[in-house]
């Protein structure tokens, strides 16, 4: 009798804390989305520009986070998929007069197709796959730089057409920011939903122990394809916005350097954490803008930042925040 009562008690206690995991993720969502929408729009000017850049890389980092942080499929060529998205959307807009929303969808599809192709071509496991993703990124960059007839080569593409949505021409930075922030908000919400269910658990299982994942019936090959395709599609969406911020498109925005920067974003923010990816993107975009005098040391500083964060905050900023709040709660009890 007493054991039953005890179990009923613990069960009710647990179900409340089970809900709190969801609540925690959505609370982080509320805070981050709140800052995203308020700060750049109210401060305007240069901060709006910063907000635009942060939003683009935050989207890209979210894609990389589900691939690398959640499902453990390390990619060293993430920027290449941003590039595929950027060129697909701009060339469709410019050469075929495709409206931006359709071009954005095409960018996601093209990047997803390229990601699927990469995952199929490189059916390697472990470190070989990682090295091959690096190679894939370099190949894509070379194609963008050298297929001059299509991409304009290293001279890049100028006169980026404005974004038109449902007949409205978006020509101001504010309008562009609203589009980007909407995209980021929507994607972030969808990925939180994804991470809570069957698929998200399967991705995490795949990332944490492949043999164990297989033993409970998770088709690891299929889920690996799925997460790589999804992550690359999201990179394509981020890429489609980039030329509209820069007003110019060049292959140099999609080098392995940029891929590495995306990896540092999610590592610094906290591997496996969606808010972490956004926080990491914000830090790595904003900090260099205030340290322009030291621009030539940028990658050096990023490297130091990465090493320092891995030593001091092995679970990134998000992980540190979480253990801090857990510590406080335990202290309060």
């Amino acid at each position: 009798m007493s054991t039953i009562a005890k179990e009923a008690h613990t069960a009710s206690h647990q179900s409340t804390s089970g809900v709190s995991r969801h609540r925690r993720d959505w609370a982080a969502f509320a805070v981050i989305v709140g800052i995203l929408w308020c700060l750049p729009l109210s401060l305007g000017g240069f901060y709006l520009y910063l907000g635009l850049a942060v939003a683009i890389y935050a989207i890209s980092a979210l894609g990389l986070q589900i691939m690398v942080g959640l499902a453990g499929q390390l990619s060293l060529g993430h920027a290449a998929f941003m590039g595929i998205g950027a060129y697909t959307s701009v060339l469709l807009q410019k050469n075929a007069g495709v409206p931006f929303p359709a071009a954005l969808a095409a960018a996601a599809l093209a990047a997803a197709a390229a990601g699927l192709l990469m995952a199929q071509l490189i059916r390697l496991s472990g470190v070989y796959f990682k090295i091959a993703t690096f190679g894939f990124g370099v190949v894509v960059h070379q194609i963008l730089s050298n297929w001059t007839a299509l991409t304009g080569g290293s001279a890049g593409v100028r006169a980026i057409p404005a974004i038109g949505v449902l007949g409205f021409q978006i020509e101001t930075r504010t309008g562009l920011f609203v589009c980007e922030a909407l995209t980021l908000t929507l994607l972030y919400a969808l990925l939180i939903r994804l991470s809570h269910g069957k698929i998200g658990r399967a991705f995490r299982a795949l990332g944490q122990n492949e043999a164990a994942a297989r033993s409970v019936g998770i088709a690891v090959a299929r889920y690996r394809m799925m997460v790589i395709t999804l992550g690359c599609a999201i990179a394509g969406i981020a890429g489609a916005y980039l030329p509209h911020l820069m007003r110019f498109l060049s292959p140099e925005s999609f080098t392995w350097y940029e891929s590495l920067t995306c990896l540092i974003m999610i590592t610094l923010g906290g591997l496996g954490s969606l808010p972490g990816a956004i926080i990491g993107a914000a830090i790595l975009i904003v900090a260099p803008e205030y340290l322009r005098d030291f621009a030539q040391y940028k990658m050096f500083a990023f490297g130091i930042l990465l090493v320092a964060s891995m030593i001091l905050l092995p679970r990134g900023i998000a992980g540190a925040g979480m253990s801090l709040s857990r510590g406080k709660r335990m202290h309060a009890q």
Binding site: Q14, L194, K198, A202, A211, G217, I218, A219
Partner: protein, 274 residues
């Protein structure tokens, strides 16, 4: 009350690794709702046999029939769907998850929502998650770890890790559960309670195969035993028959000529056998 129907049949199953024949023409019949022990000295091929049955490795020859279907070359996930689930010699959990989430992964094949459904269908997703979590809690309670649901896996003791792994396997709702050295690393109290749990599960209709080194545990629990040595079967039968089988005695105790070999006991009162 035990039915004598065969749930799993291995017929001449062979697996080679280079020149080594890890499993040689293995033939086993496992009766439904029974506990079948697979024993033998180290390197006898027991774990490879489990890999072959669960699909982690594929047979070079022979046939594996589960509930009337040939599953010899099916992918592991399809065997889980058919009702075969296993645990590992060293528990393999998901170390960054909570205990409850680990067990919830066992519900994978019982959930229908795909990539789009997980993101877009709000009511169905909520219902599915609620079902998954309450089922996971139930299986966790079955193994006696209901109170640890929200603990991170990293905080568990070794024995608790084993129990969580069993709960995760049970969450797939298997017909046949393969337990690889389930008692190793457990203290006598934990071993006894695992034995109780297994008996209860078999009473509910589950079939269990054990790879085990604890002879007392095996002899006390199993209905049938298969003894392997160097990849081949050297004896099959009830625990009583196995203890008296001269080939088994020779394999464990060393043949009369082989006086140098350490004497390893097969008697039921021996604590454990290496």
């Amino acid at each position: 009350m035990k039915s004598s129907q065969t749930i799993l049949t291995l017929r001449g199953v062979t697996r080679r690794f280079g020149g080594l024949v890890a499993v040689n023409k293995l033939s086993i019949e496992v009766k439904e709702a029974s506990i079948h022990g697979l024993i033998g000295p180290n390197g006898a091929g027991k774990s490879t046999a489990f890999d072959l049955i669960s699909g982690l490795t594929s047979a070079d020859a022979g046939e594996i029939i589960f509930r009337g279907e040939i599953v010899t070359h099916r992918a592991p996930e399809s065997r889980v769907a058919a009702g075969i689930c296993r645990t590992f010699q060293t528990p393999k959990l998901f170390d960054e998850m909570s205990v409850l989430d680990v067990v919830a992964t066992g519900r994978h094949l019982h959930n229908a929502l795909g990539l789009w459904g997980s993101m877009f269908s709000i009511a169905r997703k909520r219902a599915e998650e609620a079902r998954t979590i309450s089922a996971a809690r139930e299986f966790l309670t079955t193994v006696g770890l209901g109170a640890k649901a929200d603990a991170p896996v990293a905080d568990l003791s070794y024995g608790e890790r084993r129990l969580v792994e069993i709960a995760r396997a049970l969450a797939t709702e298997p017909k046949l559960l393969l337990l690889d050295e389930v008692t190793s690393g457990l203290n006598p109290v934990e071993t006894a309670s695992v034995g109780e749990l297994l008996r209860e599960l078999v009473r509910l209709g589950l079939t269990i195969m054990l790879v085990e080194h604890d002879m007392k545990f095996v002899m006390g629990l199993c209905d049938d035993i298969t003894v392997m040595n160097y990849g081949s079967v050297i004896a099959q039968g009830s625990p009583g028959e196995i203890v008296q089988n001269p080939d088994v005695v020779a394999a464990y105790l060393g043949s009369p000529r082989d006086g140098q070999r350490s004497r390893r006991s097969l008697r039921a009162d021996a604590p454990a056998c290496p």
